[in-house]
């Protein structure tokens, strides 16, 4: 599997064309994305990988409509994107659960927003179904602070699923979890994505996670020089059969080849970036104090 054309198969559901984004102005201007193009087909599971600070969160915020690009275009079903909406479920990196609500109430918030016209009973039932789907029925009356990290993550996922979105946007959803919980949730996520046939964009810094879950892995490449933001130039298709088993994959030749390719690609990018910025560490000032009068004691610097 070598890098291939940027567009996935089929008609694009979500598309970024030549998108650029920066924060700050003047001397503090920091370019995050320069000229990013990416198109995501209906039903596709795309993983965006990259080092921290490459603008992964900005990218997924753009796809959600939470931020607007400085240049370029974001389109949804061929139309220009107009703000966020319930058709795009978002799982925040911080989970963003509302601490004053129980698990069920957090999910109800999304159900009520989308099914406002249905009866109370129907909405209640729907919320309970979603909570059961992520295996949290036993904790539905608990508040987020009473839950473990993995359970909170599942509530966040449940809230996003409760919107019944066409597209699921996941911003490093498993980043803050321990390895065991993480593996467990990856399995659940794969199951839900497979059953519900949703279009998913997963942002992650874990290559194994990306290969385990995605149809296509897209590395977000940091800009070659400090003034240039990240861009997307390559795309790796993952044609491994589903359902994928983590343990079995570790012995799969195809998987290992892909992982090696992807890892060396990312490492090459990192090396190139280091080469472009040889003086990341500012030069230290001379340690010897400059003395105007030689008669002064040596320790008194000017």
């Amino acid at each position: 599997m070598t890098p291939r054309s940027l567009s996935g198969a089929g008609k694009p559901l979500l598309e970024l064309r030549g998108v650029a984004k920066h924060y700050g102005e003047g001397a503090r201007r920091a370019s995050v994305l320069s000229d990013v193009s990416l198109s995501i087909a209906e039903g596709e599971f795309v993983a965006v990988v990259g080092f921290s600070g490459t603008g992964k969160t900005t990218l997924v915020n753009l796809l959600a409509g939470l931020t607007t690009p400085d240049a370029g275009e974001v389109s949804l079903r061929g139309e220009p994107m107009r703000g966020p909406g319930p058709d795009r479920g978002f799982v925040f990196q911080s989970y963003a659960l509302l601490p004053w609500m129980t698990v069920l109430e957090n999910v109800r918030l999304a159900v009520d927003a989308v099914w406002g016209r249905r009866s109370r009973g129907e909405r209640e039932l729907r919320a309970r179904e979603i909570v059961a789907l992520v295996g949290l029925s036993h904790a539905s009356e608990k508040r987020p602070r009473e839950l473990s990290g993995g359970m909170r993550q599942r509530v966040a996922l449940a809230r996003a699923l409760a919107q019944d979105p066409a597209i699921l946007l996941l911003d490093e959803p498993l980043g803050a979890l321990d390895a065991l919980t993480r593996a467990n949730l990856q399995r659940q996520l794969a199951g839900i994505a497979l059953r519900q046939r949703k279009t998913v964009v997963l942002v992650t810094n874990d290559i194994d996670e990306a290969l385990l879950l995605a149809d296509r892995v897209v590395p977000l490449e940091p800009g070659a020089s400090p003034g240039v933001g990240s861009r997307i130039r390559a795309s790796f298709s993952v044609a491994l059969p589903r359902p994928r088993d983590r343990t079995a994959l570790n012995h799969d030749i195809e998987f290992r080849k892909l992982r090696n390719e992807l890892t060396s690609h990312l490492l090459a990018l990192a090396a190139r970036r280091r080469a472009a910025r040889p003086t990341d560490v500012p030069p230290l000032p001379p340690l010897e104090p400059r003395l105007r009068n030689a008669g002064l004691p040596r320790l008194v610097a000017r």
């Binding site: 966020p84 319930p86 925040f92 963003a96 509302l98 601490p99 927003a113 909170r152």
Partner: protein, 338 residues
């Protein structure tokens, strides 16, 4: 065991941390440690209070004024008893009057004469004055909250509104109630003209003055609280496209509740302090008027009775603050970031 912990948590929630060591002592939990806690939280204040009483008694005996010696603690306690006795006597007179009126009414109806209802017109007792003061401060506090919380939410949501309103807040915040009151009184007597008013004019002016002086802490705290809401929580509302009212009800208010209650607590404290001055000037029945009346009549009991009022005002202010702390803790309970 679980019961004990629940009691302890309940007490802490109500700001009654002082009682906690007694509960633990009753459960035989580290008696030595609890003893130390009790000595610290009750013993030390008791000693300080005793020293205060001694110093007060010693100084008071030496101070002679035009209306007699400054009262010591004993005279003040006697004055408090006197006020309580007056209250009971007044109530007894009222009951007697009502009974007499009922008899007369029965007789009048019996003999077919026209009967005109008459009200008892005794003077308000000290306890009546306290009740009036509490009613007034709550009325003012409710008015202040109804203005300050919505305005605070608006200021916190929009940086433009906050920038626009902030100079006005800074300008009016330090104004003394004594400056507001004349304006409020004149405006109230000009606009509040009803043949059968629900409230006394003096009550309305005092309440509005209290509101004008006490709304600022709530306004500023609400604005700060709303501005500090986690951006991701607001993004949840954006993703779900929640309508404005739902967003305020489900996200903005719960998220800023701890700040709002901090503001409300400060506001109630300011309001109570302002109230006494307002009542004094507006001649609204209440503790302020009581103090003023005592000052005017200059009897030998004057100073002792004013001292009773001082302790009452302090005690009620303290109690109100405790109540607000309890509410504040209750409001902050769920707001821990998760």
């Amino acid at each position: 065991m679980a019961l004990k912990e629940r009691i302890v948590r309940g007490l802490e929630m109500c700001g009654l941390d002082v009682v906690v060591p007694f509960v633990r002592l009753a459960a035989r939990e580290e008696p030595a440690e609890q003893g130390r806690q009790i000595a610290l939280s009750l013993g030390a204040p008791a000693v300080a209070f005793a020293l205060f009483l001694l110093a007060w008694g010693a100084v008071a005996a030496r101070l002679e004024t035009s209306i007699g010696a400054v009262p010591g603690p004993a005279q003040v306690v006697a004055a408090a008893r006197g006020l309580a006795a007056e209250h009971r006597a007044e109530r007894a007179r009222e009951a007697e009057f009502m009974l007499r009126m009922q008899e007369r009414k029965a007789k009048a109806i019996e003999s077919g004469r026209l009967w005109k209802e008459r009200h008892y017109s005794g003077s308000p007792t000290y306890l009546d004055q306290i009740a009036t003061s509490l009613r007034t401060v709550f009325a003012g506090f409710v008015i202040a909250s109804l203005i300050a919380i919505p305005l605070g939410i608006l200021c916190g949501t929009s940086a433009t509104v906050y920038a626009a309103v902030n100079p006005l807040i800074q300008l009016f915040r330090p104004v003394s109630p004594l400056a507001w009151l004349p304006i409020v009184m004149i405006v109230v007597s000009a606009t509040y003209t009803s043949a059968d008013p629900w409230f006394e004019k003096s009550f309305v002016s005092s309440a509005i003055t209290v509101a004008l002086c006490s709304l600022w802490p709530t306004l500023v705290n609400t604005a700060v609280g709303v501005a500090a809401i986690d951006k991701d929580h607001l993004n949840v509302a954006r993703v779900l496209r929640l309508p404005f009212t739902t967003r305020v009800r489900k996200i903005v208010i719960p998220a800023s509740l701890p700040y709002i209650f901090t503001g409300l607590r400060l506001s109630l404290g300011v309001g109570w302090m302002v109230l006494i001055a307002a009542e004094m000037l507006a001649q609204n029945p209440g503790l302020g008027k009581f103090v003023w009346d005592m000052f005017q009549n200059g009897s030998p009991e004057t100073l002792a009775r004013i001292a009773v009022a001082v302790f009452t005002i302090g005690g009620i202010g303290f109690a109100l603050d405790r109540c607000m702390i309890a509410l504040q803790r209750l409001a902050s309970r769920d707001a821990a970031i998760a």
